[in-house]
Symmetry: C2
Subunit: 333 residues, 2 copies
């Protein structure tokens, strides 16, 4: 059994910088036509200079693969002139509440004070990508943020708001209430719950933000993905950390899934008899939400065993050492 | 400010064997008059020979401290003759559902099939200590086990049933419904929630079973402890693992708290204006529940800064490197 995916897109990706960028970026570039690249570097991507340099570094890291980094800007109180000038360079602006995840110290501390900037984004037709978590109890953070999504969806009806890496049934339900809300969901949140991380021995390699939730949350996410909900897009949130930052007293949040996304998605969708909907989930939905033109890249997967490597450089991948039922057998672009 | 605690008791303790026993046992023996010693070794404590040898190994490890190990037997389908013969050697029998925690592979797989043994315990006046977790989703395991406690509390009204290391508001509520139910609670479950383990960076040293729960659960546990609920006893569940088993891909469950229990309990109770109830929580309640005679050991704590060591041998303790407001300043026995 085979499936050919056209222009597969990863709508939420962390590529890092320097040596880590060079280690991980080629794996995304092999399997995906393009990816939305997160701007939470140190310092964050907040200027044309930084953005251009980062795009060039990504280009150098992924050569000779055909791969388009869809750049994002770290949300700050930008002027209209700044946003107008940057508009053609970015796919969207990413909002991080201050301190909620890796390198978000410069994020937004007052979620209502940011609204003039959101109004500018709406006027300029620039999508808003949001890490939607409160500062509350770790299991409640996404649920506590949903009223903010509702408020913005109502106040900015022409603004495309992407709820990034959703993890709860409540967020899935919200998708159907506002036509200007879209969402990304990761591979790992379709596969694991908190039980996989902490139900037996603790597995730091499954520790991520937002944290994996309850079985009923995973079920709601999976159902929406398998149904190819038109505003639910695949975004890996692949977020590598070196092994010494994972198997440590203070383990960094993030799952490195880039090399295993398409094989595991094929296995998951095939297992549920939904292989015919994978194209929508990994590409078509995102093209429609963002108004993207599909890129000329085709990835063919075949049902055959593939053992995931234990390491990619100093990074332990999702599903390390396990065998997936599907493998990428051809890439044409 | 000072407090003198008479016959402090740790009603749930893991002392391990071999080198680890020799590393950790003296810290319990310094601060506690006695402790209930868990039997989940490899192989478990299921015979007089094993029990006697273990008690002797503990005695050798804690010398010259005055310390009484209150031994427990790992629950299996024992005969009346066996239990009668062992009765004078043990404080109770510990039930582990099969596979729910460290070294519980030989535990009970059928919770109703075990009831004839519970009837024997009731007839012989031997308390039943229970690791009360189901095999369900990690956050629901204790809640799912509560109906089993209810069933047994009703069917065996003369059996003292101790709900070990309770972590939920539901378990606290159950205490008031059945006079033959008692419970232990750990120091760390009075102090932390899942947020402390996984809300920021992941801290494997706070990973334990049962896993720390929600803020409202901690609040209910703390309220009952500070009120010196007469059937709530202190049990540290101090459970050491070497650092290489904690900061690892498969991190073992357990918090090593033995050396810090009394200082942190004094700080906690003093902070909440409940220092006068600490004696009941760390000794008197347990004496009443189990019919124990207090042992002639007095531990004096004073309000003064004490920095917790980073390591005890190869074990990272609870509160490692942090400063506690209280310190043990004298031990008399």
């Amino acid at each position: 059994m085979e499936i050919r995916l056209h222009s597969p897109l990863d709508m939420h990706l962390h590529l890092r910088e320097g040596a880590m960028l060079r280690t991980v970026a080629p794996w995304s570039a092999r399997d995906f036509a393009a990816a939305v690249v997160m701007p939470n570097l140190v310092p964050p991507v907040t200027s044309l200079e930084r953005l251009t340099a980062y795009r060039e570094a990504i280009g150098a890291a992924v050569a000779p693969h055909h791969f388009t980094p869809l750049m994002t800007l770290f949300l700050q109180p930008y002027s209209e002139a700044t946003l107008s000038a940057l508009r053609s360079q970015i796919i969207g602006v990413k909002l991080y509440p201050e301190g909620v995840t890796t390198n978000s110290a410069g994020g937004v501390s007052d979620l209502t004070a940011v609204e003039p900037t959101l109004a500018l984004l709406e006027d300029l037709g620039i999508p808003l990508l949001v890490h939607g978590e409160s500062h509350g109890f770790v299991l409640d953070r996404e649920a506590e943020f949903l009223p903010i999504y509702e408020r913005w969806a109502q106040r900015f009806p022409r603004l495309t708001i992407v709820m990034e890496h959703i993890t709860t049934a409540g967020a899935v339900a919200l998708l159907d209430r506002y036509p200007n809300l879209a969402a990304t969901v990761t591979l790992h949140h379709l596969m694991i719950t908190l039980d996989d991380m902490a139900g037996g021995l603790l597995n730091p390699h499954l520790f991520c933000k937002p944290i994996a939730k309850r079985p009923e949350d995973r079920a709601a996410l999976l159902q929406a993905a398998l149904a190819a909900h038109p505003r639910l897009m695949f975004g890996s949130d692949s977020a590598p950390h070196p092994i010494e930052r994972k198997e440590a007293a203070g383990c960094a949040a993030g799952v490195f899934s880039a090399p295993v996304c398409l094989p595991l998605l094929a296995e998951l969708f095939a297992h549920h008899g939904a292989l015919d909907r994978l194209q929508a989930f990994v590409s078509d939905n995102a093209c429609a939400v963002y108004g993207l033109t599909p890129l000329p890249k085709t990835v063919t997967l075949r049902r055959m065993p593939w053992q995931v490597p234990d390491r990619y450089g100093e990074v332990v991948p999702f599903y390390a050492g396990k065998t997936v039922d599907w493998a990428v057998v051809a890439r044409d672009s």
